[in-house]
Protein backbone atom coordinates (compact mmCIF):
# COMPACT_ATOMS: atom_id res chain seq x y z
CA UNK A 1 0.00 0.00 0.00
CA UNK A 2 1.27 3.45 -0.89
CA UNK A 3 2.80 5.55 1.83
CA UNK A 4 1.67 9.07 2.75
CA UNK A 5 5.21 10.25 2.04
CA UNK A 6 6.40 7.75 -0.59
CA UNK A 7 10.09 7.30 -1.35
CA UNK A 8 9.46 5.30 -4.49
CA UNK A 9 7.12 7.26 -6.71
CA UNK A 10 7.24 6.05 -10.31
CA UNK A 11 9.22 8.14 -12.77
CA UNK A 12 6.14 8.94 -14.82
CA UNK A 13 4.40 10.13 -11.66
CA UNK A 14 7.36 12.35 -10.78
CA UNK A 15 7.69 13.74 -14.29
CA UNK A 16 3.96 14.34 -14.73
CA UNK A 17 4.05 16.92 -11.93
CA UNK A 18 7.54 18.34 -12.47
CA UNK A 19 8.33 21.88 -13.59
CA UNK A 20 8.79 22.36 -17.35
CA UNK A 21 12.34 23.68 -16.89
CA UNK A 22 13.36 20.46 -15.13
CA UNK A 23 11.76 18.32 -17.83
CA UNK A 24 13.47 20.30 -20.59
CA UNK A 25 16.81 19.22 -19.12
CA UNK A 26 15.77 15.59 -19.52
CA UNK A 27 14.42 16.25 -23.02
CA UNK A 28 17.74 17.81 -24.04
CA UNK A 29 19.63 14.88 -22.59
CA UNK A 30 17.51 12.32 -24.42
CA UNK A 31 17.56 14.15 -27.76
CA UNK A 32 21.11 15.49 -27.46
CA UNK A 33 19.78 19.05 -27.51
CA UNK A 34 17.49 18.23 -30.41
CA UNK A 35 20.27 16.87 -32.62
CA UNK A 36 19.09 13.30 -32.14
CA UNK A 37 20.95 10.16 -31.32
CA UNK A 38 21.51 6.89 -33.16
CA UNK A 39 19.66 5.00 -30.44
CA UNK A 40 16.73 7.44 -30.53
CA UNK A 41 13.82 6.90 -32.84
CA UNK A 42 13.22 9.97 -35.01
CA UNK A 43 9.46 9.96 -34.28
CA UNK A 44 10.16 9.88 -30.55
CA UNK A 45 12.61 12.72 -30.94
CA UNK A 46 10.03 14.72 -32.88
CA UNK A 47 7.37 14.11 -30.22
CA UNK A 48 9.69 15.18 -27.43
CA UNK A 49 10.80 18.30 -29.27
CA UNK A 50 7.22 19.29 -30.10
CA UNK A 51 6.06 18.90 -26.50
CA UNK A 52 9.10 20.78 -25.31
CA UNK A 53 8.22 23.74 -27.52
CA UNK A 54 4.62 23.55 -26.29
CA UNK A 55 5.77 23.39 -22.66
CA UNK A 56 3.80 20.16 -22.24
CA UNK A 57 6.52 17.62 -21.54
CA UNK A 58 4.54 16.50 -18.47
CA UNK A 59 2.01 14.89 -20.82
CA UNK A 60 4.65 12.46 -22.18
CA UNK A 61 6.13 11.46 -18.82
CA UNK A 62 5.82 7.75 -19.63
CA UNK A 63 7.66 8.21 -22.92
CA UNK A 64 10.46 10.11 -21.20
CA UNK A 65 10.74 7.37 -18.58
CA UNK A 66 10.87 4.70 -21.28
CA UNK A 67 13.63 6.52 -23.17
CA UNK A 68 15.73 7.04 -20.04
CA UNK A 69 15.42 3.34 -19.20
CA UNK A 70 16.23 2.43 -22.81
CA UNK A 71 19.50 4.36 -22.54
CA UNK A 72 20.23 2.38 -19.44
CA UNK A 73 20.09 -0.87 -21.37
CA UNK A 74 23.66 -1.92 -21.89
CA UNK A 75 23.43 -4.56 -24.56
CA UNK A 76 23.29 -4.23 -28.29
CA UNK A 77 20.56 -6.85 -28.37
CA UNK A 78 18.34 -4.86 -26.10
CA UNK A 79 18.95 -1.72 -28.12
CA UNK A 80 18.05 -3.45 -31.35
CA UNK A 81 14.92 -4.97 -29.85
CA UNK A 82 14.06 -1.62 -28.25
CA UNK A 83 13.87 -3.33 -24.89
CA UNK A 84 14.48 -1.26 -21.83
CA UNK A 85 15.29 -2.14 -18.26
CA UNK A 86 13.61 -1.13 -15.05
CA UNK A 87 14.54 2.31 -13.68
CA UNK A 88 15.75 0.73 -10.43
CA UNK A 89 18.23 -1.29 -12.49
CA UNK A 90 19.32 1.82 -14.38
CA UNK A 91 19.92 3.66 -11.10
CA UNK A 92 21.74 0.65 -9.63
CA UNK A 93 24.04 0.52 -12.68
CA UNK A 94 24.74 4.23 -12.34
CA UNK A 95 25.48 3.87 -8.62
CA UNK A 96 27.94 1.06 -9.35
CA UNK A 97 29.48 3.09 -12.18
CA UNK A 98 30.16 5.85 -9.69
CA UNK A 99 31.85 3.32 -7.37
CA UNK A 100 28.87 3.19 -5.04
CA UNK A 101 27.83 -0.01 -3.34
CA UNK A 102 24.06 -0.34 -3.49
CA UNK A 103 22.61 -3.37 -1.75
CA UNK A 104 19.63 -5.49 -2.72
CA UNK A 105 17.69 -4.05 0.22
CA UNK A 106 18.11 -0.45 -0.93
CA UNK A 107 15.03 1.23 -2.37
CA UNK A 108 15.25 3.70 -5.21
CA UNK A 109 15.50 6.64 -2.81
CA UNK A 110 18.50 5.10 -1.07
CA UNK A 111 20.17 4.21 -4.37
CA UNK A 112 19.72 7.75 -5.64
CA UNK A 113 21.22 9.00 -2.38
CA UNK A 114 24.30 6.86 -3.06
CA UNK A 115 24.45 8.30 -6.57
CA UNK A 116 24.18 11.88 -5.31
CA UNK A 117 26.94 11.40 -2.75
CA UNK A 118 29.26 9.58 -5.15
CA UNK A 119 28.64 12.15 -7.89
CA UNK A 120 29.20 15.04 -5.48
CA UNK A 121 32.47 13.50 -4.39
CA UNK A 122 33.52 12.75 -7.96
CA UNK A 123 32.45 15.90 -9.75
CA UNK A 124 32.16 18.57 -7.06
CA UNK A 125 34.81 17.61 -4.52
CA UNK A 126 35.00 17.00 -0.79
CA UNK A 127 33.92 20.46 0.32
CA UNK A 128 30.72 20.35 -1.71
CA UNK A 129 29.95 16.88 -0.41
CA UNK A 130 30.45 18.03 3.18
CA UNK A 131 28.25 21.05 2.50
CA UNK A 132 25.51 18.83 1.06
CA UNK A 133 25.69 16.40 3.98
CA UNK A 134 25.34 19.30 6.40
CA UNK A 135 22.16 20.44 4.66
CA UNK A 136 23.54 22.40 1.70
CA UNK A 137 21.56 23.28 -1.41
CA UNK A 138 21.18 19.92 -3.12
CA UNK A 139 19.17 21.25 -6.06
CA UNK A 140 21.88 23.81 -6.81
CA UNK A 141 24.63 21.21 -6.76
CA UNK A 142 22.66 18.80 -8.94
CA UNK A 143 21.87 21.57 -11.44
CA UNK A 144 25.57 22.33 -11.69
CA UNK A 145 26.59 18.68 -12.07
CA UNK A 146 23.91 17.97 -14.68
CA UNK A 147 24.92 21.05 -16.66
CA UNK A 148 28.58 19.99 -16.65
CA UNK A 149 27.78 16.42 -17.58
CA UNK A 150 25.46 17.53 -20.37
CA UNK A 151 28.25 19.50 -21.98
CA UNK A 152 30.21 16.31 -22.36
CA UNK A 153 27.27 14.07 -23.19
CA UNK A 154 27.18 12.73 -26.72
CA UNK A 155 30.88 13.22 -27.27
CA UNK A 156 33.93 11.12 -26.59
CA UNK A 157 34.86 13.72 -24.02
CA UNK A 158 31.86 12.53 -22.10
CA UNK A 159 33.56 9.27 -21.49
CA UNK A 160 36.24 10.98 -19.49
CA UNK A 161 33.55 12.55 -17.37
CA UNK A 162 31.50 9.43 -16.96
CA UNK A 163 34.07 6.70 -17.04
CA UNK A 164 37.15 8.49 -15.84
CA UNK A 165 40.25 6.42 -16.42
CA UNK A 166 38.25 3.41 -17.44
CA UNK A 167 37.26 5.25 -20.63
CA UNK A 168 35.89 3.71 -23.71
CA UNK A 169 36.28 0.00 -23.01
CA UNK A 170 34.77 0.26 -19.59
CA UNK A 171 31.91 2.39 -20.84
CA UNK A 172 31.01 -0.26 -23.39
CA UNK A 173 30.34 -2.76 -20.69
CA UNK A 174 31.35 -6.37 -20.30
CA UNK A 175 28.84 -7.92 -22.66
CA UNK A 176 29.79 -5.68 -25.54
CA UNK A 177 33.47 -5.56 -24.73
CA UNK A 178 34.21 -8.86 -26.41
CA UNK A 179 33.14 -7.38 -29.74
CA UNK A 180 35.74 -4.68 -29.50
CA UNK A 181 39.19 -5.53 -30.76
CA UNK A 182 40.92 -2.48 -29.42
CA UNK A 183 38.97 0.20 -27.66
CA UNK A 184 40.85 3.14 -29.05
CA UNK A 185 40.81 1.69 -32.55
CA UNK A 186 37.06 1.46 -32.80
CA UNK A 187 36.76 4.40 -35.12
CA UNK A 188 33.52 5.46 -36.72
CA UNK A 189 31.83 2.05 -36.70
CA UNK A 190 32.74 1.45 -33.09
CA UNK A 191 31.55 4.90 -32.14
CA UNK A 192 28.22 4.14 -33.78
CA UNK A 193 27.91 0.96 -31.73
CA UNK A 194 28.94 2.89 -28.66
CA UNK A 195 26.38 5.61 -29.26
CA UNK A 196 23.66 3.18 -30.20
CA UNK A 197 23.88 0.62 -27.51
CA UNK A 198 26.46 1.16 -24.83
CA UNK A 199 25.34 1.68 -21.28
CA UNK A 200 24.99 5.36 -21.95
CA UNK A 201 26.27 6.58 -18.63
CA UNK A 202 26.95 9.94 -20.20
CA UNK A 203 23.17 10.22 -20.44
CA UNK A 204 21.96 8.10 -17.54
CA UNK A 205 24.21 9.69 -14.90
CA UNK A 206 22.85 13.24 -15.40
CA UNK A 207 19.35 11.85 -16.03
CA UNK A 208 19.32 9.89 -12.77
CA UNK A 209 20.73 12.89 -10.91
CA UNK A 210 17.97 15.08 -12.38
CA UNK A 211 15.30 12.53 -11.42
CA UNK A 212 16.80 12.25 -7.93
CA UNK A 213 16.43 16.02 -7.62
CA UNK A 214 12.79 15.82 -8.74
CA UNK A 215 12.10 12.94 -6.34
CA UNK A 216 13.53 14.85 -3.42
CA UNK A 217 11.56 17.96 -4.31
CA UNK A 218 8.38 15.88 -4.47
CA UNK A 219 9.27 14.06 -1.29
CA UNK A 220 9.70 17.40 0.48
CA UNK A 221 6.28 18.50 -0.83
CA UNK A 222 4.67 15.28 0.39
CA UNK A 223 6.31 15.60 3.78
CA UNK A 224 5.22 19.22 4.08
CA UNK A 225 1.63 18.25 3.29
CA UNK A 226 1.87 15.45 5.84
CA UNK A 227 3.11 17.75 8.62
CA UNK A 228 0.46 20.35 7.74
CA UNK A 229 -2.27 17.73 8.14
CA UNK A 230 -0.78 16.63 11.45
CA UNK A 231 -0.60 20.18 12.77
CA UNK A 232 -4.19 20.77 11.67
CA UNK A 233 -5.22 18.08 14.15
CA UNK A 234 -4.01 20.15 17.10
Amino acid sequence: MESVVPRDRSISDLLSRAASADLEVLADLITDNGKGRIALDSDVKATIMTRKVQGRLQSISSLLEKEICAFGSNTIVSAIKSESIDYLEVATDVAKKLDGKPSAQDDIFAIEEIIIRQAMDKYMGDEALKDYLSGGNLAGYINEMVKTLMLSAGSLGGMAATGGGAGFASALGGRVLSMVAAPLAIGAAGLAIYQASSPAFRITIPAVLQIAKLRRARYDQDFEAYTEKLNACL
Binding site: M1, E2, S3, V4, V5, P6, R7, F223, Y226, T227, K229, L230, N231, C233, L234
Partner: protein, 322 residues
Amino acid sequence: MFVNIDALVRSLPDIPDVLAKLHSGDYTLWGGVVRHSKGTEKAGQIVGHLLFPGDSGHVQESLKNLQSTLSSGLGSLQTGMDQVQQSMNVLQGLQSANLVMSGLNLAVTTVGFVIVCKKLDKISREMEKQSKTIAETWQLVSEAHERYLLADEARFRGLLRTAIQFCEEGDAQQLRILIGSFNEQYEFTRLLLERHSRMATSNVAFFDQVSLLQNRLVNLGLMMSHVQLKAGSHKYSRQSLTELATDIANLNASRVKALSNDRSVASTITHEQFAGLTRFLQDGTKMTPSLTYQADLIELEVKHPGLLQHATEAREILLIAA
Protein backbone atom coordinates in the same frame (compact mmCIF):
# COMPACT_ATOMS: atom_id res chain seq x y z
CA MET B 1 84.45 -38.19 -22.26
CA PHE B 2 84.46 -40.59 -25.22
CA VAL B 3 86.67 -39.51 -28.22
CA ASN B 4 86.71 -41.42 -31.49
CA ILE B 5 90.41 -41.35 -32.42
CA ASP B 6 89.63 -42.68 -35.92
CA ALA B 7 88.61 -39.20 -36.90
CA LEU B 8 92.18 -38.06 -36.07
CA VAL B 9 94.04 -40.78 -38.05
CA ARG B 10 95.42 -39.60 -41.37
CA SER B 11 97.51 -41.20 -44.17
CA LEU B 12 100.40 -39.50 -45.90
CA PRO B 13 99.65 -38.26 -49.37
CA ASP B 14 101.01 -40.18 -52.28
CA ILE B 15 104.10 -38.02 -52.80
CA PRO B 16 107.61 -39.44 -53.34
CA ASP B 17 109.91 -39.27 -50.33
CA VAL B 18 107.43 -37.29 -48.37
CA LEU B 19 108.21 -39.06 -45.13
CA ALA B 20 111.95 -38.79 -45.70
CA LYS B 21 111.73 -35.11 -46.47
CA LEU B 22 109.56 -34.52 -43.39
CA HIS B 23 112.31 -36.17 -41.37
CA SER B 24 115.03 -34.19 -43.13
CA GLY B 25 113.27 -30.92 -42.56
CA ASP B 26 112.59 -30.06 -46.18
CA TYR B 27 108.89 -30.42 -45.47
CA THR B 28 107.02 -29.38 -42.40
CA LEU B 29 103.65 -30.71 -41.25
CA TRP B 30 101.14 -27.93 -40.42
CA GLY B 31 98.11 -29.64 -39.05
CA GLY B 32 96.81 -31.75 -41.92
CA VAL B 33 98.90 -29.85 -44.48
CA VAL B 34 102.45 -30.66 -45.63
CA ARG B 35 104.37 -27.52 -46.60
CA HIS B 36 107.86 -26.62 -47.80
CA SER B 37 109.89 -25.64 -44.78
CA LYS B 38 111.29 -22.24 -44.06
CA GLY B 39 114.53 -21.44 -45.72
CA THR B 40 113.85 -23.66 -48.72
CA GLU B 41 113.25 -22.30 -52.16
CA LYS B 42 109.50 -22.86 -52.02
CA ALA B 43 109.10 -22.04 -48.33
CA GLY B 44 105.43 -22.10 -47.24
CA GLN B 45 104.10 -23.70 -50.34
CA ILE B 46 101.79 -26.67 -49.88
CA VAL B 47 103.16 -30.00 -50.88
CA GLY B 48 100.06 -31.96 -50.15
CA HIS B 49 97.41 -32.88 -47.53
CA LEU B 50 97.16 -35.75 -45.17
CA LEU B 51 94.42 -38.17 -46.24
CA PHE B 52 91.74 -40.18 -44.41
CA PRO B 53 92.65 -43.84 -44.54
CA GLY B 54 90.91 -45.56 -47.41
CA ASP B 55 92.16 -49.11 -47.43
CA SER B 56 90.22 -52.20 -46.14
CA GLY B 57 92.76 -52.90 -43.41
CA HIS B 58 92.13 -49.58 -41.88
CA VAL B 59 88.37 -50.06 -42.29
CA GLN B 60 88.48 -53.40 -40.51
CA GLU B 61 90.55 -51.88 -37.80
CA SER B 62 88.07 -49.03 -37.52
CA LEU B 63 85.16 -51.48 -37.37
CA LYS B 64 86.85 -53.36 -34.57
CA ASN B 65 87.37 -50.12 -32.78
CA LEU B 66 83.71 -49.28 -33.36
CA GLN B 67 82.56 -52.68 -32.06
CA SER B 68 84.77 -52.25 -29.07
CA THR B 69 83.40 -48.78 -28.53
CA LEU B 70 79.78 -50.05 -28.90
CA SER B 71 80.46 -52.90 -26.47
CA SER B 72 81.79 -50.56 -23.90
CA GLY B 73 78.78 -48.22 -24.60
CA LEU B 74 76.31 -51.09 -24.23
CA GLY B 75 78.03 -52.02 -21.04
CA SER B 76 77.44 -48.54 -19.81
CA LEU B 77 73.84 -48.82 -20.98
CA GLN B 78 73.42 -52.04 -19.02
CA THR B 79 74.88 -50.29 -16.00
CA GLY B 80 72.42 -47.42 -16.57
CA MET B 81 69.55 -49.85 -16.90
CA ASP B 82 70.58 -51.48 -13.67
CA GLN B 83 70.63 -48.12 -12.02
CA VAL B 84 67.21 -47.31 -13.48
CA GLN B 85 65.90 -50.61 -12.18
CA GLN B 86 67.29 -49.83 -8.78
CA SER B 87 65.62 -46.44 -8.87
CA MET B 88 62.36 -48.06 -9.92
CA ASN B 89 62.66 -50.41 -7.01
CA VAL B 90 63.21 -47.45 -4.71
CA LEU B 91 60.21 -45.73 -6.31
CA GLN B 92 58.07 -48.81 -5.87
CA GLY B 93 59.16 -48.85 -2.28
CA LEU B 94 58.25 -45.22 -1.99
CA GLN B 95 54.88 -45.88 -3.64
CA SER B 96 54.22 -48.59 -1.10
CA ALA B 97 55.21 -46.20 1.64
CA ASN B 98 52.96 -43.61 0.09
CA LEU B 99 50.09 -46.08 0.05
CA VAL B 100 50.74 -46.84 3.68
CA MET B 101 50.84 -43.13 4.43
CA SER B 102 47.59 -42.61 2.49
CA GLY B 103 46.03 -45.39 4.49
CA LEU B 104 47.30 -43.82 7.66
CA ASN B 105 45.97 -40.44 6.54
CA LEU B 106 42.60 -42.01 5.82
CA ALA B 107 42.61 -43.62 9.21
CA VAL B 108 43.58 -40.34 10.89
CA THR B 109 40.93 -38.50 8.87
CA THR B 110 38.31 -41.07 9.81
CA VAL B 111 39.26 -40.86 13.45
CA GLY B 112 39.25 -37.05 13.20
CA PHE B 113 35.87 -37.15 11.52
CA VAL B 114 34.50 -39.39 14.25
CA ILE B 115 35.91 -37.05 16.91
CA VAL B 116 34.45 -33.99 15.16
CA CYS B 117 31.11 -35.77 14.78
CA LYS B 118 31.11 -36.61 18.47
CA LYS B 119 31.96 -33.01 19.32
CA LEU B 120 29.23 -31.76 17.00
CA ASP B 121 26.77 -34.17 18.60
CA LYS B 122 27.79 -32.85 21.99
CA ILE B 123 27.39 -29.24 20.83
CA SER B 124 24.07 -30.12 19.24
CA ARG B 125 22.84 -31.69 22.49
CA GLU B 126 24.09 -28.66 24.40
CA MET B 127 22.33 -26.30 22.00
CA GLU B 128 19.15 -28.32 22.25
CA LYS B 129 19.41 -28.11 26.03
CA GLN B 130 20.02 -24.34 25.83
CA SER B 131 17.13 -23.94 23.40
CA LYS B 132 14.84 -25.72 25.84
CA THR B 133 16.10 -23.50 28.66
CA ILE B 134 15.55 -20.37 26.54
CA ALA B 135 12.08 -21.56 25.55
CA GLU B 136 11.23 -22.25 29.19
CA THR B 137 12.62 -18.84 30.24
CA TRP B 138 10.66 -17.17 27.45
CA GLN B 139 7.52 -18.94 28.58
CA LEU B 140 8.11 -17.84 32.16
CA VAL B 141 8.75 -14.24 31.07
CA SER B 142 5.64 -14.30 28.87
CA GLU B 143 3.57 -15.68 31.71
CA ALA B 144 4.98 -13.07 34.09
CA HIS B 145 4.23 -10.32 31.58
CA GLU B 146 0.72 -11.64 31.05
CA ARG B 147 0.17 -11.86 34.81
CA TYR B 148 1.46 -8.29 35.14
CA LEU B 149 -1.01 -7.08 32.48
CA LEU B 150 -3.83 -8.96 34.14
CA ALA B 151 -2.84 -7.59 37.55
CA ASP B 152 -2.72 -4.08 36.13
CA GLU B 153 -6.15 -4.46 34.55
CA ALA B 154 -7.50 -6.04 37.74
CA ARG B 155 -6.24 -3.08 39.79
CA PHE B 156 -7.87 -0.67 37.35
CA ARG B 157 -11.19 -2.55 37.26
CA GLY B 158 -11.12 -3.17 41.00
CA LEU B 159 -10.55 0.51 41.65
CA LEU B 160 -13.47 1.50 39.43
CA ARG B 161 -15.81 -1.06 41.00
CA THR B 162 -14.84 0.04 44.49
CA ALA B 163 -15.27 3.69 43.58
CA ILE B 164 -18.69 3.02 42.02
CA GLN B 165 -19.78 1.20 45.18
CA PHE B 166 -18.64 4.00 47.52
CA CYS B 167 -20.18 6.61 45.23
CA GLU B 168 -23.54 4.81 45.31
CA GLU B 169 -23.30 4.39 49.09
CA GLY B 170 -22.23 8.02 49.44
CA ASP B 171 -19.30 7.00 51.60
CA ALA B 172 -17.12 10.10 51.25
CA GLN B 173 -14.58 8.82 53.76
CA GLN B 174 -13.89 5.65 51.78
CA LEU B 175 -13.83 7.63 48.54
CA ARG B 176 -11.12 9.87 49.91
CA ILE B 177 -9.00 6.79 50.61
CA LEU B 178 -9.31 5.77 46.95
CA ILE B 179 -7.98 9.09 45.64
CA GLY B 180 -4.37 7.96 46.11
CA SER B 181 -4.93 4.86 43.98
CA PHE B 182 -6.65 6.93 41.31
CA ASN B 183 -3.74 9.36 41.19
CA GLU B 184 -1.28 6.50 40.92
CA GLN B 185 -3.23 4.84 38.10
CA TYR B 186 -3.63 8.13 36.29
CA GLU B 187 0.04 9.09 36.57
CA PHE B 188 1.22 5.65 35.47
CA THR B 189 -0.98 5.76 32.38
CA ARG B 190 0.03 9.33 31.58
CA LEU B 191 3.76 8.57 31.91
CA LEU B 192 3.39 5.55 29.69
CA LEU B 193 1.58 7.61 27.06
CA GLU B 194 4.13 10.41 27.31
CA ARG B 195 6.96 7.95 26.75
CA HIS B 196 5.34 6.59 23.60
CA SER B 197 4.22 10.00 22.33
CA ARG B 198 7.87 11.09 21.99
CA MET B 199 8.69 8.17 19.70
CA ALA B 200 7.36 8.52 16.17
CA THR B 201 7.51 4.78 15.57
CA SER B 202 5.44 3.98 18.66
CA ASN B 203 2.65 6.25 17.49
CA VAL B 204 2.35 4.13 14.38
CA ALA B 205 3.47 0.64 15.35
CA PHE B 206 1.63 0.61 18.74
CA PHE B 207 -1.28 2.76 17.66
CA ASP B 208 -3.95 0.36 18.99
CA GLN B 209 -2.31 0.10 22.42
CA VAL B 210 -1.75 3.86 22.59
CA SER B 211 -5.36 4.49 21.65
CA LEU B 212 -6.55 2.09 24.36
CA LEU B 213 -4.28 3.65 26.99
CA GLN B 214 -5.52 7.13 26.14
CA ASN B 215 -9.12 5.96 26.59
CA ARG B 216 -8.09 4.63 29.96
CA LEU B 217 -6.46 7.94 30.88
CA VAL B 218 -9.63 9.85 29.93
CA ASN B 219 -11.86 7.50 31.94
CA LEU B 220 -9.53 7.66 34.94
CA GLY B 221 -9.48 11.48 34.75
CA LEU B 222 -13.29 11.71 34.56
CA MET B 223 -13.76 9.14 37.33
CA MET B 224 -11.23 10.86 39.54
CA SER B 225 -13.01 14.18 39.05
CA HIS B 226 -16.31 12.53 40.03
CA VAL B 227 -14.80 10.88 43.11
CA GLN B 228 -13.23 14.18 44.19
CA LEU B 229 -16.63 15.87 43.75
CA LYS B 230 -18.44 13.19 45.77
CA ALA B 231 -15.75 13.37 48.43
CA GLY B 232 -16.40 17.09 48.68
CA SER B 233 -13.10 18.18 47.10
CA HIS B 234 -14.61 20.47 44.45
CA LYS B 235 -11.38 22.28 43.75
CA TYR B 236 -9.56 19.04 42.99
CA SER B 237 -12.49 17.77 41.01
CA ARG B 238 -12.24 20.74 38.70
CA GLN B 239 -8.45 20.44 38.65
CA SER B 240 -8.67 16.81 37.55
CA LEU B 241 -10.64 17.85 34.47
CA THR B 242 -8.40 20.75 33.53
CA GLU B 243 -5.32 18.57 33.99
CA LEU B 244 -6.86 15.90 31.82
CA ALA B 245 -7.53 18.45 29.07
CA THR B 246 -3.97 19.77 29.35
CA ASP B 247 -2.47 16.27 29.32
CA ILE B 248 -4.40 15.25 26.23
CA ALA B 249 -3.34 18.45 24.44
CA ASN B 250 0.30 17.94 25.49
CA LEU B 251 0.28 14.33 24.39
CA ASN B 252 -1.09 15.33 21.00
CA ALA B 253 1.50 18.08 20.60
CA SER B 254 4.27 15.66 21.53
CA ARG B 255 2.99 13.12 19.00
CA VAL B 256 2.78 15.65 16.20
CA LYS B 257 6.28 16.92 16.98
CA ALA B 258 7.74 13.41 16.96
CA LEU B 259 5.97 12.45 13.74
CA SER B 260 6.94 15.72 12.04
CA ASN B 261 10.60 15.22 12.85
CA ASP B 262 10.95 11.69 11.55
CA ARG B 263 10.89 11.39 7.78
CA SER B 264 11.75 7.72 7.74
CA VAL B 265 8.67 6.89 9.83
CA ALA B 266 6.54 9.17 7.67
CA SER B 267 7.52 7.06 4.67
CA THR B 268 6.25 3.91 6.35
CA ILE B 269 2.79 5.28 7.19
CA THR B 270 0.10 4.18 4.79
CA HIS B 271 -2.89 6.37 3.91
CA GLU B 272 -5.14 4.13 6.00
CA GLN B 273 -2.86 4.37 9.04
CA PHE B 274 -2.59 8.11 8.62
CA ALA B 275 -6.36 8.48 8.50
CA GLY B 276 -6.65 6.55 11.79
CA LEU B 277 -3.87 8.61 13.34
CA THR B 278 -5.39 11.97 12.38
CA ARG B 279 -8.83 10.84 13.65
CA PHE B 280 -7.27 9.90 16.97
CA LEU B 281 -5.49 13.27 17.27
CA GLN B 282 -8.66 15.15 16.30
CA ASP B 283 -10.70 13.24 18.90
CA GLY B 284 -8.23 14.34 21.56
CA THR B 285 -8.41 17.93 20.40
CA LYS B 286 -12.24 17.88 20.30
CA MET B 287 -12.27 16.59 23.87
CA THR B 288 -10.71 19.75 25.32
CA PRO B 289 -13.79 22.07 25.05
CA SER B 290 -16.02 19.43 26.71
CA LEU B 291 -13.60 18.98 29.59
CA THR B 292 -13.25 22.74 30.00
CA TYR B 293 -17.06 23.07 30.02
CA GLN B 294 -17.34 20.39 32.72
CA ALA B 295 -14.63 22.10 34.75
CA ASP B 296 -16.52 25.41 34.50
CA LEU B 297 -19.71 23.73 35.73
CA ILE B 298 -17.90 22.38 38.75
CA GLU B 299 -16.52 25.84 39.46
CA LEU B 300 -20.08 27.17 39.26
CA GLU B 301 -21.15 24.58 41.81
CA VAL B 302 -18.31 25.63 44.07
CA LYS B 303 -19.42 29.26 43.87
CA HIS B 304 -23.15 28.45 44.04
CA PRO B 305 -23.59 25.21 46.01
CA GLY B 306 -26.72 23.24 45.03
CA LEU B 307 -27.09 25.02 41.70
CA LEU B 308 -26.20 21.97 39.63
CA GLN B 309 -28.56 19.78 41.62
CA HIS B 310 -31.30 22.35 41.09
CA ALA B 311 -30.52 22.51 37.37
CA THR B 312 -30.62 18.73 37.08
CA GLU B 313 -33.95 18.40 38.80
CA ALA B 314 -35.60 21.42 37.11
CA ARG B 315 -38.33 20.69 34.56
CA GLU B 316 -37.67 23.88 32.68
CA ILE B 317 -34.67 24.97 30.70
CA LEU B 318 -32.61 27.20 32.92
CA LEU B 319 -30.12 29.81 31.77
CA ILE B 320 -27.18 29.70 34.10
CA ALA B 321 -24.64 32.49 33.84
CA ALA B 322 -21.33 32.17 35.57
